[in-house]
């Protein structure tokens, strides 16, 4: 395993992954994973399709339990925390799922209002204002009362982003944010991610294999490989592009220029 050095600033890492093994039953997807994500980072989890990126993301947000190893959030052992504490920690997360995962039985506005009405003491009209503001942020001001089935794929992604941001999470997770988007929408989403990161200091974890996004937004990354079943590189993607000793990683990051 080749590793480009990551500065082990273990002490104030926002997310810390220790010797993680991710498996479905006996089938190991990834193992020996060690990495940490600093507060305010835009962290990319990259790799070919089927290498286990989504699976690792599901471990980070507590939807799957590690077969082995731990995930620490804010130095708290998230993977083995009691249920209450896990729920507490989860409230600092916002997640944008690969398919958007909007609740199809609710309008866009109701989708965004749901987390707000669950966890806050806001009045109905306050919630409506917050929803309007979040929708305006993602450029969907006129779509509040449409159902997810009535808007396009790109708009669904943005609505889902508005929902993920509803409670101003400390960490935002994205699974393939640009999948199924045209290049322009995908650029806009990247800009939005950068903006959120700069203005709110949100830690951002992105699963993607889009080179344009990787270089545009990432300042740290790991590279997962399906054959090796583990990470074969980590570090700033722009540096990895030229300096990574591993042939596979350089090939992946330079594939547009063949």
């Amino acid at each position: 395993m080749q590793q480009v050095a990551i500065a082990p600033q273990v002490n104030n890492a926002h997310i810390e992954v220790c010797d993680l093994t991710a498996a479905y039953g006996d089938y190991i997807v990834q193992q020996y994973l060690n990495f940490s994500i600093q507060r305010g980072d835009i962290f990319i989890i990259m790799g070919g399709s089927g290498c286990g990126k989504s699976t690792i993301l599901r471990h980070l947000i507590g939807l799957q339990e590690p077969a082995k190893g731990e995930v620490f959030i804010n130095q708290v052992n998230f993977s083995h925390a009691p249920h209450n504490q896990q729920e507490q920690i989860k409230r600092s997360f916002g997640v944008l799922f690969q398919s958007g995962a909007l609740f199809s039985a609710m309008t866009v506005a109701e989708n965004i209002a749901l987390p707000l009405s669950e966890y806050s003491i806001l009045s109905k009209s306050d919630i409506r204002d917050v929803v309007d503001y979040k929708l305006a942020l993602v450029g969907l001001a006129g779509c509040a009362d449409l159902y997810p089935a009535e808007i396009s794929g790109g708009m669904r992604k943005r609505a889902a982003l508005a929902r993920a941001m509803a409670l101003d999470p400390e960490i935002l997770f994205f699974d393939e944010p640009s999948a199924g988007l045209d290049p322009v929408s995908s650029r806009r989403l990247d800009e939005l991610i950068l903006e959120l990161n700069a203005s709110l200091g949100t830690t951002i974890v992105v699963v993607t294999h889009e080179l344009a996004s990787i270089f545009a937004i990432g300042n740290n990354s790991i590279f997962l490989d399906a054959e090796a079943k583990t990470m074969i590189a980590s570090g700033n993607p722009r540096q990895l592009k030229n300096e990574c000793p591993d042939e596979r990683v350089r090939a992946f990051l330079n594939r547009g220029e063949l």
Partner: protein, 384 residues
């Protein structure tokens, strides 16, 4: 090898020609198109097996007119076979496009799971997996039932975590909208019950007891049972499909990341809807069934409507109604839990949604029949 083989159809044809003692040439000709089929390689391979000295094979495609996947698949199969026998295949005589496609299929990495050692469909494997599934599934189901109990208890204590709008829609879907089908089925069942019973009772001149038979039969057993089965097929299936689709669409995961338990948010309102609506539908079904009995009595067995009414009132007791209603409540719980459990356990594909729906209906009906028998026996023993 002296013989040459030539195979001809109107479309494709090939020929094996010996060139040197250890070399063979394959001549391809005609149109190799999928619509005219792909030749089998077995006969070719057995011919090659009969000439053990063969070292290499080359191709001649000058007569070849046109080709598509048919030719590539045929060649790929053939080449794999001869390479497995240590014979060298020289592709240079093939059209450049065919060569490139063949190489592409060789070099593209194909990844399969290496842990599937057993034949997927062997009987033994199937039995084993089903047993394991049941073994590991049972505790999960019990867990789920426990969680539902806790969530329901919390809801009744006033910690409502679902949207009231949802409950309203669910009540409407499970109740009023089921009235037509419940009317139809319970009327027919009442009719059959009255007719079959009366035919026997008439032998003793005791036709008037149709009222007892239909009244007690509907109210204690059949009203609730029929309503339960109808709702299992109608509403239970809908719940499983709906929740299963939410699972496919990652909506359940999204709920979990908001810290909202899918049980609080999705299962409890459905449980409440069925527990409230099935007893009401059962009362309605009882009434329709009794009316059907009345219709039979009046039109076929010459009993007056008033007589029938009085006889029904005389035999009917509150305890009969309560027994029927208690069963209805239990069926409601069974259907809600079975369908929501199957929905939540659904995999991430459209086929899985279909399986979840089927399995929800089957499980609900099995539970209904089992609890029906158990409760009937218990009530008999208690003398209620």
């Amino acid at each position: 090898m002296e013989t040459t083989t030539a195979v001809n159809t109107s479309a494709w044809s090939y020929e094996l020609l010996p060139q040197e003692p250890d070399t063979l040439q394959m001549r391809l000709a005609g149109d190799w198109r999928l619509q005219s089929g792909i030749p089998h390689v077995e006969t070719l391979v057995s011919q090659i097996d009969s000439s053990p000295k063969l070292q290499s094979l080359n191709f001649d495609s000058q007569q070849l007119n046109s080709w598509d996947t048919a030719l590539v698949v045929f060649l790929r199969n053939f080449i794999h076979n001869i390479q497995a026998r240590g014979i060298h295949a020289d592709l240079s005589g093939l059209p450049a496009g065919v060569q490139r496609l063949l190489n592409l299929a060789e070099t593209a990495p194909s990844r399969g799971r290496d842990d599937e050692m057993f034949e997927k469909d062997s009987l033994l494997n199937h039995v084993g997996e089903t047993t394991l599934e049941f073994w590991y599934g049972a505790p999960k189901a019990l867990n789920f039932i426990g969680d539902c109990g806790i969530a329901l208890f919390n809801t009744l204590r006033g910690r409502v975590r679902f949207r009231r709008v949802d409950l309203g829609l669910l009540l409407q879907g499970a109740g009023p909208q089921a009235l037509p089908i419940v009317s139809l089925i319970s009327f027919l069942v009442g009719l059959i019950l009255a007719y079959m019973g009366a035919a026997q009772l008439a032998m003793f001149g005791a036709q008037i007891y149709i009222a007892d038979l239909v009244g007690i039969g509907m109210v204690r057993e059949i009203g609730a049972l029929m309503t339960g089965v109808i709702i299992a097929g109608r509403t239970g299936a809908a719940y499983a499909a709906e929740i299963g689709t939410m699972q496919v669409n990652e909506e359940i995961d999204a709920l979990k990341t908001f810290g909202i338990s899918p049980i609080d948010f999705l299962v409890v309102p459905r449980l409440l809807a069925l527990v409230l609506m099935i007893p009401l539908l059962t009362l309605y079904a009882d009434l329709v069934g009794i009316l059907a009995g009345l219709a039979v009595a009046v039109t076929i067995f010459d009993i007056s409507a008033f007589e029938y009414y009085v006889q029904t009132l005389r035999t009917m007791e509150m305890s009969h109604v309560l027994v029927g209603l208690s069963k209805a409540v239990v069926y409601g719980i069974c259907i809600a839990i079975a369908s929501c459990l199957r929905g939540i356990q659904c995999g991430r594909s459209s086929a899985a949604v279909g399986q979840a729906t089927t399995s929800a209906v089957v499980t609900s009906i099995v539970f209904i029949v089992i609890t029906a028998s158990i409760m009937t026996i218990i009530y008999q023993k208690l003398g209620i």
